[in-house]
Assembly symmetry: C2
Homo-oligomer: 314 residues x 2
């Protein structure tokens, strides 16, 4: 059976509530539920006052690692003058180890683990959290790590479009055993605005490019150093060069479903990832620890500056 | 292009080293590498003595949650009389928050996060770890949580075969943009042996059945309580009833790639998951915390007993 293609739910369309800027919940069943337990956040609508806890959220920053998202929350506390960056900060999801969540003023920072399924669970529960909290005009930014394609390690890539391993801007969602194709476009003006922020900071190279999203880190990304590898070095190089020719500048594992779900929910979304290596030069991430730590701070710095600008703090 | 089907690499075939029971590494490139950095474990062959650290490993138990795998390691320490279960136990991967790893005698316990991509990264690095450590005759068991289909919450399911959302025993691996189909069969005698252990413990219901492995928790598992849902309750029920008719007894998110990669590497493998709810009755996991905690101990108890039996401790 041929896959069904869904229309993009743009922000200009009226949301379910009829109010512009509100979260669009593409699920009529939820209205009938007396309680909604966000199991993987260990939060529930009958046990937590969502509007009081999260109603003022305007920026949601997500990334794979719980440690990195905590560090980002602490950094943002300092930047927004809402706390000392050295102070400890409470994990809102302390009752579970699936995800970690931190809140600093209008900024929510959440970890999502690795891969499409892991970030997808988080996004379902995040979108419901924002809806139950009656949030409006929310921007969601993934700040992550990636492998670069034809660019220097440490470069930051702002994703124009997430593409699959066949270089198509599509995300395949399986629903009741049938495949649905969803759009993976990201917000163009937001990407431009973030690129402008990088120019103003002027500390590292940032490019706007396509991001390839894969289902695994080794074979799916043409690495030669996994436990299983059935192709030659030449075939690998050919594939990565074809990716470069197709406008791909980095490879990661979450952007496609992130773009698709934010599109369907009327959320302005961006993906900002630093590259830890240039995959045309190798596969192993072997830079010294302090170099990798500094690289990982770059998307945080860029997005921190963007948020400060929106809050008229720069 | 039609997907390519790979042959199963059975344990009876000679492994790369030529010695029976040794790990089969399906990657000729690794022999040429001077160093192998297992990035997501924060371990490397030039910085860690793998045979000394892991050479005696015979049982590897993996599960999604880092907290649960630590609790399992502590439980096993007590059961094997190798330590006090109340004692703290060191995380071998303390330098990263991607995975957590604990070792108790011949037992290695590792967390794998949620979803196929996340467990796949861990398995690539685990298989290389076992290979570099020159381990032999290793059994790998996933002890996890799942949604039940037509069976009471708290039942334990031992997977006969992992199937995709179309109920086929296949795992699709994308390599250089092309789809390869891999077998998701699991070790039949091992499943029977585990079922026998459950009979001997006689504390909870255990069945052998097919496990459906999905790419997400909400739409992919026909839930009505995600942020996005385009189907009716009747369509959901019809799909889950068809799954039951096809021999599926539970649904989770890691078994297919786990079976496929263990097959290719000559590892004896099993999947033992407790069901937290019966999906024919609902979608939300709303049982009290203490009930869920007790459920989650059941696969641990079963696999702990199995290990003790193999070490002639029962």
């Amino acid at each position: 059976m041929a896959p069904v293609t869904e229309n993009k739910k743009g922000q200009s369309e009226p949301s379910q509530s009829g109010e512009p800027g509100r979260i669009h919940l593409s699920n009529p069943h939820l209205e009938k539920m007396e309680e909604d337990i966000l199991y993987h956040f260990d939060l529930g609508t009958n046990t937590h006052d969502f509007p009081a806890l999260f109603g003022d959220v305007k920026f949601v920053c997500v990334g794979g690692s719980a440690w990195r998202m905590k560090a980002f929350a602490q950094y943002i506390a300092g930047e927004l003058k809402l706390g000392d960056p050295k102070d400890d900060i409470a994990n809102i999801c302390a009752g579970t180890d699936r995800y970690a969540m931190y809140k600093v003023g209008p900024v929510l920072a959440i970890s999502h683990g690795m891969g499409i399924p892991s970030i997808s669970i988080m996004l379902h529960e995040l979108i419901k959290l924002l809806y139950h909290s009656r949030c409006s005009d929310v921007t969601v930014i993934r700040i992550g790590t990636s492998g670069g394609v034809g660019i220097d390690p440490g470069s930051v890539v702002i994703t124009s479009q997430s593409v699959n391993p066949c270089f198509k801007p599509e995300f395949e969602q399986i629903v009741l055993g049938k495949t649905i194709i969803r759009s993976t476009e990201l917000d163009g003006p937001l990407a431009q605005e973030l690129a402008q922020c990088s120019q103003e900071i002027d500390e590292f190279t940032t490019v706007i490019g396509r991001t390839m999203c894969t289902l695994d880190f080794y074979e799916g990304q043409a690495r030669l150093d996994g436990a299983i590898c059935s192709y030659t070095k030449e075939e690998k190089t050919q594939y990565l060069k074809a990716a470069y020719e197709a406008g791909i500048r980095n490879i990661e594992m979450e952007s496609s479903v992130f773009a698709a779900m934010c599109n369907l929910s009327g959320l302005r979304a961006a993906v900002v990832c630093v590259t830890l290596l240039n995959r045309l030069d190798g596969d192993q991430i072997s830079s010294p620890h302090d170099v990798l730590v500094e690289y990982q701070q770059r998307p945080q710095k860029l997005v921190g500056y963007f948020i400060k600008k929106h809050m008229s703090l720069v």
